[in-house]
Symmetry: C2
Subunit: 467 residues, 2 copies
């Protein structure tokens, strides 16, 4: 981007938004030009903070007219570089569009602007005696617009689904600059293709989500947590099946003993029980009555008798439940000091044991010195594979080595009909691996759709797809 | 379609499918050329019954090459003429693709070919100790391919959602003739636009759904039915809110006293209670424990005290529950002898009382002699407006009069941001009213998508959209 062009763009943006909402200082460009992926160097030409959908539309029309590119920016907690501006783009950040409105208790819906923080929505729902169930580690900073653009999942998907499932309506600005109101909050509306579902998970490549009508549900009651030590990883599906036949689980997570050891080494939480196990499962359910609890204890005993489970603990209070959750939730932060190389892969749940064993063998045989940490949302078949950097190894060399093994990992994903990105999205980081999950014919249709909504390729170009 | 062309088409089809699977006799053309909409005269050139996805692909490629049109045909229970072949098309019927396979108890999924009957899937699930929750009056003949192509809803949407929500994967043949495997049964897969959701509800205009990986869930326990007489229609939302705050409802239906009177006149079922009310609500929930039942009775008393409800009855057994359901479920069949003109409209639930009142006034003032029967899935904001034909009036004249009032009805729908087709789809019957729910800019994108998947317009041309 030449300097003159950059100045013209900034002038144009300043004419669109209110004073002070176009940032060009080095700190802002650095901060707004990247997400949690640390691989790419930010280099945006400006950051603009619109306050209305109409301002967003004016920005998109200017981009089409003048030929500059736009990168949407929410809480920038993404892990696939979907919100990275490394090529002189204009970052459109939604921090100034953070209003919740139109709460309707009868419909159990509300309208969020794109910049509403996930936790803000969760808290608002709680104040109304209701519940927004999509939850994950970055809920304190991720924004609804970003959640929807990446169809965020998290720790409660087994019961409450993905972000996609909570959207009753969307207001979007397409890459062409049209404002569309999709589905208008309706529960039932069978009038042609549901464009709402195209924009969800599109990572900002078709247009901007500026507003969403979100559904809420009733608050869960007395959530109870069970942590089980598994005798062998292969039994994880037996345990899942035994429980879910009789109890509506709200979570079914897993982690390896290696993952647990890192968390325990921190000293903030204690081991769930005395004995050790190679793998652990964390289950959560609503303990609505004494009967549910008895049912759960019955299944637990059955799992012990079958030799699937070696020990277990059940929460007796909300505080205990929270502490047990920390055994699982603290993993990511605890291992972050080891500069982990992350993969977020999935297969159908029943294939998980065979799949994990294969991947484990591939990585262990190629890099016997690397420590591998497994955890994930096993009830959804979603595994987080984290490879830790050995102390002496330079970061670049370590990442390069990890990427060398990617082809083998993703070939295994493909053979098991899995996904190369279960919940993190594609962005820049996974773009070269898309074909391991989507066939060439499919990718051709994705490109055709991209062109229909964004013919001049102004919306997050180079993310997900190259056209 | 000229006769020569027709013969060539039939020859080509015969070369694709096994012997006897191309039908051209008058009875078959009549039977397969229409759905439950009686407005259009069937006139297909042939009916073809493929047995595999590859045969479907060969048929699509032939259609593109020779320039003939295809109409998908499932159980033909549609109410918007989405499966009508009135213009010399080839009907592609899925009766010979009716296999259920790959049931996986751990994943709770199975693979259905498009021609599997809804009830067949429901029964299969039940035999496995599981549950397929999408249910509606035509479940005994509707096929899964048709259900998904129209995103069928029904009577349990408030708890279990639409057909869309139960699809883990789709195998489709696009209008171009590509076979795509969409989402492959995965619970989590964020790798670009989710084409699965484009094909669901597309009414066969983008391609054929040939196979679906469907999710199942646990069987509900002890479903209990409550029928309440409402003092005034306006209180229906108060009652819904009071109950759903404390109980997970599996259904919340409503019907007018006029609807009930028709059902009672049949003599098969008895009145729910002695008194009368202008409107009735039917609620269903899982009575998991004694506590749930007490909770429900508590809410019922609260509704009585507030004057919202004048009387009520609760089922004490499965048989009683079934009989109470008949008060609602028998309506459609009971009034069918009056040649009803049906509208299937929706708004967000909280707008229902005001909306219904307006529509009621419009129809009553225009046609004071017509009997209006209201019923529907009020928990989803979905109203079935049925206008009964007076005895002396000719069918054509009656329909013409009803259609005259449509503009006013749909303008009201539009003003309330509602849907002109909540669950029946658009087909031919609602095509001219699409713009009351979808804006012109939206419709332009729908057309662009249609062209991307079906550039030669061989797939169900003239349905949903004209391009």
């Amino acid at each position: 981007m030449s300097k003159v062009a950059a100045e013209q763009i900034v002038e144009r943006l300043k004419a669109i938004v209110v004073s002070g909402k176009v940032l060009t200082d080095a700190d802002s460009l650095q901060a707004y030009g990247k997400d949690w992926t640390k691989k790419y160097e930010p280099d945006p030409v400006a950051v603009v903070l619109p306050k209305t959908t109409e301002e967003v539309q004016a920005i998109v029309l200017a981009a089409n007219e003048m030929g500059f590119a736009l990168v949407p920016s929410g809480g920038r907690t993404g892990l696939s570089a979907g919100a990275v501006a490394a090529s002189g783009e204009v970052v459109v950040a939604f921090d100034a569009m953070n209003r919740i409105s139109d709460f309707n208790p009868a419909d159990r819906t509300l309208v969020c602007q794109a910049g509403v923080i996930t936790e803000q929505l969760q808290n608002f729902a709680e104040e109304q005696g209701l519940f927004y169930p999509v939850d994950f580690a970055s809920a304190g900073s991720s924004q609804i617009g970003g959640n929807l653009s990446t169809n965020a999942g998290g720790i409660k998907v087994i019961r409450w689904g993905m972000s996609r499932d909570w959207v009753a309506g969307l207001k979007v600005v397409t890459g062409k600059g049209d404002i569309l109101e999709l589905n208008k909050g309706l529960a039932k509306n069978n009038t042609g293709y549901d464009l709402r579902h195209l924009f969800i998970g599109a990572e900002g490549t078709l247009g901007f989500i500026t507003e969403a009508t979100m559904k809420l549900t009733r608050q869960p009651k007395n959530l109870t947590v069970l942590v089980l030590g598994l005798s062998h990883f292969n039994h994880v599906m037996d345990v899942l099946q035994a429980f879910s036949r009789r109890i509506d689980l709200t979570a079914f997570e897993f982690f390896s003993d290696k993952a647990l050891r890192h968390v325990l080494a921190n000293g903030d939480v204690t081991a769930p029980f005395e004995g050790e196990a190679p793998f652990y499962a964390l289950l959560e359910f609503e303990s609505l009555t004494e009967e549910t609890l008895e049912e759960a204890m019955g299944v637990f005993e059955e799992c012990m008798e079958n030799g699937w489970v070696v020990d277990g603990v059940i929460s007796q209070s909300e505080t205990q439940a929270k502490n047990l959750w920390r055994l699982r939730e603290d993993i990511s932060e605890t291992i972050s000091k080891f500069t982990p190389y992350k993969n977020d892969i999935s297969v159908v749940p029943s294939k998980v044991p065979a799949f994990l064993t294969e991947i484990d063998e591939i990585v262990a045989s190629r890099y016997p010195d690397f420590e591998i940490i497994w955890f994930g949302h096993i009830g959804d078949g979603n595994l987080h594979l984290n490879i830790l950097k050995p102390e002496g190894l330079a970061k670049e060399e370590f990442f390069a080595k990890c990427e060398e093994v990617n082809t083998q990992v993703f070939e295994t994903v493909q053979r098991h009909q899995g996904s190369v990105s279960a919940e993190h999205g594609v962005g820049l980081l996974k773009k070269d691996y898309l074909q391991y999950t989507r066939a060439p014919e499919e990718i051709a249709y994705l490109k055709a759709i991209k062109v229909a909504f964004d013919p001049n390729n102004v919306m997050n170009p180079g993310k997900v797809l190259d056209i």
